[in-house]
Symmetry: C2
Subunit: 319 residues, 2 copies
């Protein structure tokens, strides 16, 4: 059955039925003009990310469930990068009228499962027909009384540390682009990023001075911190270990794996700066340091003291 | 200059520059991974609506600024219909790469101006290229300590009342569809709905038992209240006055104006039920009454005791 056959309200009721979870923080879920979500400390964190068919995902590369995981992850990671705990998602789905309704149901399953990893649930949304399959997600989050981890707080002398994977999703994307389907570790990383959500709030508690989620590529995203904080950042290439499967894939495809690691996005690792005195647990790897600003704005991230020229300078969604 | 020439970050910075307003409830606006908005009573109301080019708007019928007003209004009305005051918007914009950047800037102006009517501001968003111009908006709101006005509270004996315009936007849509551009009152109502936002919170304070915003058509939207509350609703046709310009336009086009009033959407009037003992101010017009459920679910709204057959039964976004 297609979504057009089911109709707007049929589709909404079938999709809503897949979101069966509950949360003590959700006071009113789908079915009214709006949802009602608790904001226990009197503030709510909110972020929106949109995924467009053929640009952010391909239906021949990823299942509907994969795409649901990825759409949720991209948004939940933004909440984590503020040092907050995600509470709820709202989803606007635009689909061609001939989309199979099972595709929409499995998308909902993926969204709900990814949100469930952090105890968040889908509380509302909207649907429309459109020639272009488009998924716009808004995530809400709870800072639990903490200050938000913004991009402006990095100070010279801080260390730069990363929690989570780098380059896996970009490697998976390259592998799929070349027509291959393995190694599975990398291809699956493109389909369903493994985001270290808990490191957002725990990084905040450790005393991080700034944090960002790596969606455009480590150099590009640290560039946002450097610009916003008015500092320079130097990364140590030796701090990045190339996993064996990534090295093998890079060799087979004739590419530099550091391009994936330093400039590839979509793993949604968390990158943060910490005062040097803080002892970081093992899940945070120190990969560089914050320096006084000495370079022109927008060009403030170097690798071993030099501007990195080995990969694309981050992802521009219009190019 | 097109959005592709400006690039993603160029477009974001140009659009963000148009949103210059401030709000005491917005603790952190655009520019970080997420925004931070105050939720003074420890709860946040949240709703998402998406508008798709050619389906919800036409760029040859409406300016970018009009479309910004309309996209904001559709979402702000949902917040008002919960009895809440809107605080913030997040906007995901998908555009063809060859869109003129001035179009995106004027869209932002419209969004900001409509939000400004209720003291809300645009706090964040996302942008992507897409073959289909798509605007997904999420609105947040503040209940100021009140209970949310849900669809389940209508009780037999309540009166049904409406605040705001009915049929104007639908008349404007029909007029534009037939190739005309006037009367201006009706055409402009399609382009920029006049939403009685303040009636949401004030209706809640008056003691409304349920409320909804009329986006799919009065019969369809009251049908949601009837179903959710397990009641019937009977409307009095004599309570609906056809404005002179609407009557003239209907006569000229050979249509029944009550089709626009009873089944036309997109004016975002607020429809509510109130206990009969409550004295309503003039901006609420009593148009019917709540009855015990006696009809099959989904068919619970009648006009003068009969099922209405004169117009489309509300808008299905997949048909």
């Amino acid at each position: 059955m297609t979504v057009a056959t089911a109709g707007e309200f049929g589709l909404i009721s079938r999709v809503t039925a897949r979101l069966g979870a509950a949360s003590p923080l959700v006071l009113l879920g789908p079915g009214d003009d709006a949802a009602l979500v608790a904001a226990p400390d009197g503030r709510v964190v909110a972020s929106t990310d949109v995924l467009v068919d053929g640009r952010h995902f391909r239906r021949d590369w990823s299942t509907a469930r994969d795409i649901g995981h990825r759409a949720a992850a991209a948004n939940l990671a933004d909440i984590a990068a503020m040092g907050a705990r995600p509470t709820a998602l709202l989803v606007a789905l635009c689909t061609p009228a001939n989309l199979e309704i099972t595709w929409a149901e499995e998308l909902a399953d993926g969204l709900a499962a990814e949100a469930g990893k952090v105890g968040a649930i889908v509380v509302g949304g909207d649907m429309s027909a459109s020639p272009t399959l488009t998924i716009a997600v808004t995530a809400l989050g709870n800072l639990e009384g903490r200050a938000p981890l913004v991009r402006t707080g990095a100070r010279p002398g801080d260390v730069v540390a990363v929690c989570g994977r780098l380059g896996y999703a970009a490697a998976g994307y390259t592998i799929l682009s070349r027509g291959f389907r393995s190694p599975k570790l990398l291809v699956e990383a493109h389909r369903r990023p493994q985001v270290p959500y808990a490191a957002g709030p725990s990084g905040a508690r450790l005393g991080a001075t700034s944090m960002i989620d790596v969606s455009d590529g480590l150099l590009a995203d640290l560039g946002h911190i450097a610009t916003a904080s008015g500092v320079g950042i130097d990364l140590h290439r030796s701090a990045f270990v190339v996993p064996e499967q990534m090295r093998d894939a890079a060799t087979a495809l004739g590419v530099d794996p550091y391009g994936w690691i330093l400039a590839g996005g979509d793993d949604h690792a968390l990158a943060a700066t910490f005062p040097p005195s803080i002892e970081l647990p093992d899940d945070w790897r120190v990969v560089g340091e914050v320096l006084p600003a000495s370079l022109p704005a927008g060009d403030g991230v170097t690798v071993d003291g030099r501007r990195y020229t080995g990969g694309a300078p981050g992802w521009d969604h219009f190019r």
